[in-house]
Each structure stands twice: as structure tokens, then as C-alpha cells.
Amino acid sequence: MMHRALIRIALAASATIVFPGALAQQECEPAVDMIESNDAVNRISECDYSDEGINGWLSGLGERKPTDSAAAASSSASASGAEGGEFELSSAPVAEPLALLQARFALISKAAQRCEQGAAIVKLERYRPLEGGKLRLEMRFQCQD
């Protein structure tokens, strides 16, 4: 019976261990995984895969991709906080100065698209330190008609 009693005990013991707090950063996993997550509908607009994988290849047909770091800097955009027409966008983690600039450009472009009837006003810009010296750029915008 495959030592089932032992397995049950091991799994049950593991499940009862209380660990100190740790951070499991919720980032944009591959699109096929993200869309399977429990809160997927709240994340569809959060994660931008336009520069990744087959989407990057399709969107880049006939164009030269700048660098790998540019792809890494592709932003994720959150539609949260729609109060007063404001919305917040955040980048994927970036580790290089050029990637940070490109991530900023990507966020501003995304905001401008969302405010296509007018202009996007930057209400807030902050840089969140992450593990490994990386940064996450978070920007809040408001559409001006």
C-alpha cells in the first residue's frame, strides 16, 4: 500500500507547520497560467504580454526589437483605483537603467492609449525596490478630456 500511512503523516505534518511571514510576490506569470488564476478577470488588464513570446513576435513583425532588456521592461498595467478617473500602471521588475526608461515609456504609452479621447496626466510616480536590486515602476494617471 505504498507506505500510505507514512505519506499521510508527512503531508499532514507539513500542512500544520507554521512558518514566519514570507513574501510571494504576485507577478505576471505566463499568460496561460495567469488566466487560470482565481482572480484572473481582475488581472487581464494588469498583465501586458504584448512584447512577450508569440505576441512579441507578432507585434514585432517587420520591426527590429531594441534589446532583450527592453522586452524585460515591458510593463504590466493595472486598472485598479478607477476613482475619479484615475488608474494605476506598474512595470515588470527591471534591473537596468535603459530598461527602466523603456518601462516608463511603455507605461506612459499604455496610459495615453487608455486616454485616447484626451491626455494622460501623471498623478504619481514611484519606484519600488525588489529583490536582486531590481525596481518596479508604479505610476498613477488621470485622463483629461
Binding site: 505519506i7 505566463p30 488566466i35 488564476s37 478577470v41
Partner: protein, 302 residues
């Protein structure tokens, strides 16, 4: 015929790329496994829910998004499933505002999606559906999802109209996800087809500590014929950036008396999107099954 289908698909993809915030996604997951089912042995090549889909959103105003998802399964192993090249998986159209999302279509119920973080052998022979009821992709389902402004809490409630027998179903869940902690409770009522007066209740928990994730679930099920309950536990250890070890065990009397499912396996990640994997699964119960599966496979996500 095939050419026109391919042309149409290509145009759809190109149109999608030219529109705003459209993502083409999918995965191919194929395994070669040694099967020993009730004494009969054979080798199988299997496609484990390989799929292709489109998802995206479009803003109709500053505060209103239209969301959509069209996802189809493709059988990488033998090219067809019940005579179909592509079969429907999750398909929906929804409207999202600061007050939440309202969506309709055919998609996984709140009870099913609530357990997604803890089923480490999902879509393989060790899938949680072997021991738990309620792993349902419902047709004609309308669902409300709480907005992102609720923070760590996501609530869902869905109404499923059967359109034939007059017995409509309800599914609901509430989940708390904050950093390493995931907790959820969910219920189904009369969601299953052709079974009257069914109730399913499920609680799920998962905790991540660095490279280690533990998870568990408990389910209680009852209908006119009887009731049953079961539990499930899983452990995943990211040994290195490439190597992942995982195991899970479940036992229940919900589907069959004495059903047990045990799986152990590992992944080797070549990249974020490509991995090789191996597994051993044993599914058995007191009445029907005494099955072993030993397999290796590859997966690519795009």
C-alpha cells in the same frame, strides 16, 4: 476548407494584434506514460489539456472595460478529440467597472477555480478531479466577481441555467490571497447535470515559504443518493531555479468508496515557459480502480 479556416484564424490573430491589449496564449503539454490499469499495461502518448486562446480587454470609457476570453483545447497527441480538431474550453465576455465584473459564457465554476493553487498535478492523471466532485466547466453561466479594489479578497457568485430541466445551479467562492497565504471557501448547489439536489462545499488553503509551498483542501458532497467527504494535501519544493519537486495525496468517498490518489514527480525548467517533467501516479479505490501511471513529458507555454 482547411485553408479558409487557417486564413480566418490568421486574420483573427492579426486583427487581435492590431487591436489594444489582446493576448494570444496557450500551451502544449505532451507526455509519454506507462499505464497499468487493472492489470492491463500499455504505453500512451497523451496531450494534457493543450490549448490555445485569445484574451484581452477594450476600454469603452475611463472606468469601463470589456473583457473577453476564447480558449480551445487541441489534442497534440492524435490531432482530434471526439472528431473535433478544437474543442471549447473557457469562453466568456464580460464588463468590468470599479464595482466588479459581470461575465457570461462557458467557464470553470467558482468552486473549481478556487482550488487552482493547490492541485500540483492538474490536467495529469493525478488531477484533483479523481477524488473531488465539482470540477465543472459550466455552460450558460453568468458570474459576478468583486473588483480589484477589494484587495486580497476575491468573491465570486455564479448562476448556471441548465435551460432544460428547470433546475438551475449556483456556485460561489470567497478567497483571500495575500503574499504567501491563500485561503478559500466555495460551494456549489445543483451545478451538476442530471443529478438533483446536490450540494458541494470545499475549503482550500495554501502557504508559500520561499521555495516551499504547502496546500490542502477538504470537500463535503451530498445529493439524494448519499453523501461523502474527502481531503487533499500537496507539497511543492523549488529545489533550485530549474528543479522542482512535488507530491500530493488525496482520499475521499465522494466519487467511489475508498478512492485514493497519490502522485509524486518533478519538473526541470529550461526557461520560464519550457519545462520537462516526470511523474508517478497511483489511483485506486475499493471498487473500480487500481491504476498506476509512470510518465515523462514536455511543456511549452506561449
Amino acid at each position: 476548407m482547411k485553408k479558409s479556416v487557417l486564413s480566418t484564424a490568421f486574420l483573427v490573430v492579426m486583427a487581435a494584434q492590431s487591436a489594444n491589449a489582446v493576448t494570444l496564449y496557450g500551451k502544449a503539454n505532451v507526455a509519454l506514460q506507462q499505464v497499468d490499469e487493472a492489470g492491463d499495461s500499455e504505453i500512451e502518448l497523451i496531450s494534457n489539456s493543450s490549448r490555445i486562446g485569445l484574451m484581452g480587454d477594450g476600454a469603452v470609457s475611463d472606468n469601463v472595460l470589456v473583457l473577453y476570453r476564447f480558449e480551445y483545447e487541441t489534442s497534440v497527441d492524435d490531432g482530434e478529440n471526439s472528431g473535433q480538431t478544437l474543442t471549447q474550453r473557457n469562453i466568456y465576455l464580460g464588463v468590468q467597472t470599479q464595482y466588479g465584473t459581470l461575465m457570461g459564457g462557458v467557464f470553470d465554476t467558482p468552486l473549481k477555480t478556487a482550488a487552482s493553487p493547490v492541485d500540483l498535478f492538474n490536467d495529469l492523471e493525478g488531477d484533483i478531479r479523481n477524488i473531488f466532485a465539482g470540477e465543472i466547466r459550466a455552460k450558460n453561466i453568468v458570474q459576478y466577481v468583486t473588483p480589484k479594489s477589494f484587495g486580497a479578497v476575491t468573491g465570486k457568485i455564479a448562476y448556471i441555467t441548465k435551460e432544460v430541466d428547470g433546475i438551475d445551479g449556483v456556485s460561489a467562492s470567497i478567497a483571500y490571497s495575500d503574499g504567501p497565504i491563500y485561503l478559500a471557501a466555495a460551494m456549489d448547489q445543483d451545478v451538476e447535470d442530471n443529478v438533483a439536489n446536490t450540494d458541494t462545499y470545499r475549503v482550500i488553503g495554501a502557504y508559500t515559504l520561499g521555495d516551499l509551498q504547502i496546500g490542502g483542501a477538504y470537500e463535503k458532497y451530498d445529493n439524494e443518493q448519499g453523501d461523502g467527504d474527502g481531503y487533499f494535501a500537496s507539497v511543492q519544493w523549488d529545489i533550485t531555479d530549474q528543479w522542482v519537486f512535488k507530491t500530493q495525496y488525496g482520499q475521499s468517498d465522494i466519487k467511489v468508496e475508498g478512492r485514493e490518489s497519490f502522485s509524486i514527480g518533478g519538473d526541470y525548467k529550461f526557461t520560464k515557459a519550457i519545462k520537462a517533467f516526470g511523474y508517478f501516479t497511483q489511483n485506486e479505490d475499493d471498487l473500480v480502480r487500481d491504476d498506476d501511471y509512470l510518465g515523462v513529458g514536455m511543456e511549452i507555454k506561449f
